[in-house]
Amino acid sequence: MERQEQLQGIGCSRKRKEDPRFIQGKGLYVDDVKLPGMLCGEVVRSPFAHAKIVSINKEKALALPGVHAVITAEDLKPLGLHWMPTLAGDTQAVLADEKVCFQMQEVAMVIADDRYIAADAAELVEVEYEQLPALVDPHKAMDADAPIIREDLVGKDEAGQGKRTHNNHIFTWDVGDKDATDRAFESAEVTVREDILNPRVHPSPMETCGCVASFDKVNGSLTVHITSQAPHIVRTVVTLLSGIPESKVRIISPDIGGGFGNKVGIYPGYVCAIVSSIVLGRPVKWIESRIENISTTAFARDYHGVGELAADKDGRITALRFHALADHGAFNAHAQPTKWPAGLFSICTGSYDIPVAYARVDGVYTNKAPGGVAYRCSFRVTEAVYLIERMIDVLAQKLDIDKAEIRRRNFIQADQFPYQSALGWEYDSGNYAPALEKVLEACDYEGLRKEQTEKRANGELMGIGLCTFTEIVGAGPSKACDVLGVGMFDSCEIRVHPTGSAIARMGTITQGQGHETTYAQIIATELGLSSDDIQIEEGDTDTAPYGLGTYGSRSTPVGGAATAMAARTIRAKAQKIAAHLLEVSPEDIEWDVDRFHVKGNPDAVKTMKEVAWAAYNNVPEGMEMGLESVNYYDPPNFTYPFGIYLCVVDIDRHTGETSIRRFYALDDCGNRINPMIIEGQIHGGLNEAFAVAMGQLISFDEEGNLQGNTLMDYFIPTFVETPHWETDYTVTPSPHHPLGAKGVAESPHVGGIPCFSNAVVDAFAHKGVTHVDMPHTAFNVWKTIHELGLDS
């Protein structure tokens, strides 16, 4: 037991190994990289949402001392780099080619000695525009007279994701048995329908996107420090775009100041910096400002949904029909596994045993920034979970069934796992009902409902929100998931040094999740070496094995599994070496925390440290020296973490201010590697859920002008607004994951958002309100109050 504790392995809330550098200001983020002769890039952006570029005059900018170049689409054309492929099979203008399609679109990049000169010069680039009518409302995108956004696609009946039927149409994707679903609706005792919006928001990590590109003309090699959640994919894309062999492209994701989906894509700023460095032969840094970040790189959501449920009169759901109109902006640059135009939206049957379902998503172009990233969630899972978790409340209200009770009646039962969902997923494990009871008891749900009844009698507004969600994370099985043709496996390479410490390198990349700690803990337990002595490295494509990166909660499900598998290969070899040292056959050896001993003889022992030493000087005949292994793990399935959340809100009926009285989050992510880190991830995810539900919105006026793209307007909760979080857990291991673990960091965001919304709507349920769209700002809530006449 003591030996076990010394390892600080799986299950231990050990302190994070990465923290010492961060608390002393010694992290290395992209903007901290300073190379000799480095120049600075600044992007000239479109002020208009839709306009023809009449002319670009660079002369004044080029005349400014310290300016080295001003590049435009014209300059990129001869290189074939004025357009680039997106992860979604579309193409995107690197620099605007003859026209701009969204406000703040990249029109030119100025390269200068420093950021001040670059900013001055950007102001001197004169661009003449001829404004065109802007298309802002996605519901009008497919109107006959809608302005055409993508002239480059006119006449093409395909934009990478299936057939198009209109110039502004990108794709139509559907899944499920439509006829059977329609029949179930026709014969249903009860049906409900609601328009439900997941508004356009932005992940806004504290660090914005940027890169330092450095091309070595002598060696023909390119090194790019970049804020990327997927450095290996960046390397492949850079090679495909530039023709530089992958062996001469080195992508380094150093410390990353938060990602949340914002740093999965490949942005025009990166490409311009790389091209500039190649052309000028000097390192070029490009770092976006916060305004540029919110305006251009990677919005999320913008799903205009319609939810429908059919049920019997006891509230048992008999069919589900969901539709979403997806506003993808001017280029289809959403970050999903390539074959999934609507991501994993089909997880929308949730935690419920729904016999038949049909889901459809239509993607359209508008004059807005491209993106559609998974903001702290697996691909489009927030949108799906929001729909089902809102709709089940709508159904409960229609039938006057308690919102906890209706969930009980519809849950997939523990003995149904592995469960085949109507939309084609195989849920690996789950145990929803006991978890729900645990939360209801912890929060005295009965008591809360009683209190609510009393408050309502006094005209006070109190809401109780429940959310009982299932996520789908850990993309993913390569038979189902790829990015640009590369299967979504992940990897780990472990080397045990002669003196018994180790280094491991992975294809994932931490952005605050604590990989340097949790992966070390996995190896510690598997190999019996202290996690203090295990060094984790990620993000450098020259040293790390190829991997698909960190997003969609895939690090533990895929990278963590690869780590365990690599470690197990090493242990198997170590066992043979130990047997050789102890002069018995390997089958007669037993593993015991950090050592091997001969079965039935606990004193005949070789510790892993002793075996490591022997691996470099005394191995069995015919065995290779060394103690290392690499594993590329292709998961057999996704993992399906779940959670039961409860939120209590009190709403001021005069101001519309919503105060979060209580937020209780029970998560089940299977076996837990570092409970301290898990809890931290849940706090953070809940806070981002709070941000989305209560305040975040990227809005536009009728001409496509962004309304609020600074932190003055865009809501990032401070210490003051943020509620107190209570966390809890159950453990239902994943049967197919080597450690029984599932992903966790995104669950709180996915489950938190509907929970807040359900609480706010619940406060008005007695007045017949079934749905109000996010964000639930004081003003929006006040509007509901005022419409209902509750403020008088």
């Binding site: 961060f22 608390i23 002393q24 706090h683 600074t710």
Partner: protein
């Protein structure tokens, strides 16, 4: 542009720099003086990632010109640990898991350092309002609050033991 010489005390050492009048303190700290602990997270002074301590006050160094630092005493996160020992706040952030991606952490620490001198025994409410100028996206703030409480207790125990 003509440069001006600016002299100030930075983390206990006198420094002289030549700056353009328009240069912001954060850029001079990060790019000339190579102290990259303080970060840039926005340009509207909302995020607090660039917080440094100037003459005993928390200052967002993205909204202060370097020339305004003439004669000032400036402390950044790099100056927090004294004589190789972590400051109790640094230790507490590590112990209570008060950081994740680490980007906001230097600003949080420098603000927390000043805040605990302004209010050595803060309630949770007081921490929430006293730290509200610093944004974090990762932690949900709860463990930062715990870290500051833990640090306050450690600092108070220190002063207590010195008084004895």
């Amino acid at each position: 542009m003509a440069k001006t010489q600016v002299s100030f005390n930075l983390n206990g050492q006198d420094v002289d720099v030549l700056v353009e009048p328009r240069e912001l303190l954060i850029h001079v700290l990060r790019e000339q003086l190579q102290l990259t602990g303080s970060h840039i997270g926005c340009e509207t002074s909302h995020c607090g990632a660039c917080t440094v301590d100037v003459n005993g006050q928390s200052i967002k160094s993205c909204t202060m010109l370097a020339i305004q630092a003439q004669g000032a005493t400036v402390m950044t996160v790099e100056g927090l640990a004294a004589g190789g020992e972590l400051h109790p706040l640094q230790q507490a952030f590590m112990d209570e898991h008060g950081l994740q991606c680490g980007f906001c952490t230097p600003g949080m620490l420098v603000r927390g350092y000043r805040f605990l001198q302004e209010n050595p025994n803060p309630s949770e409410e007081e921490i929430r309002s006293g730290m509200a100028g610093n944004l974090c996206r990762c932690t949900g703030y709860q463990n930062i609050i715990k870290s500051i409480q833990t640090a306050a207790a450690a600092l108070n125990a220190d002063t207590g033991s010195q008084a004895e």
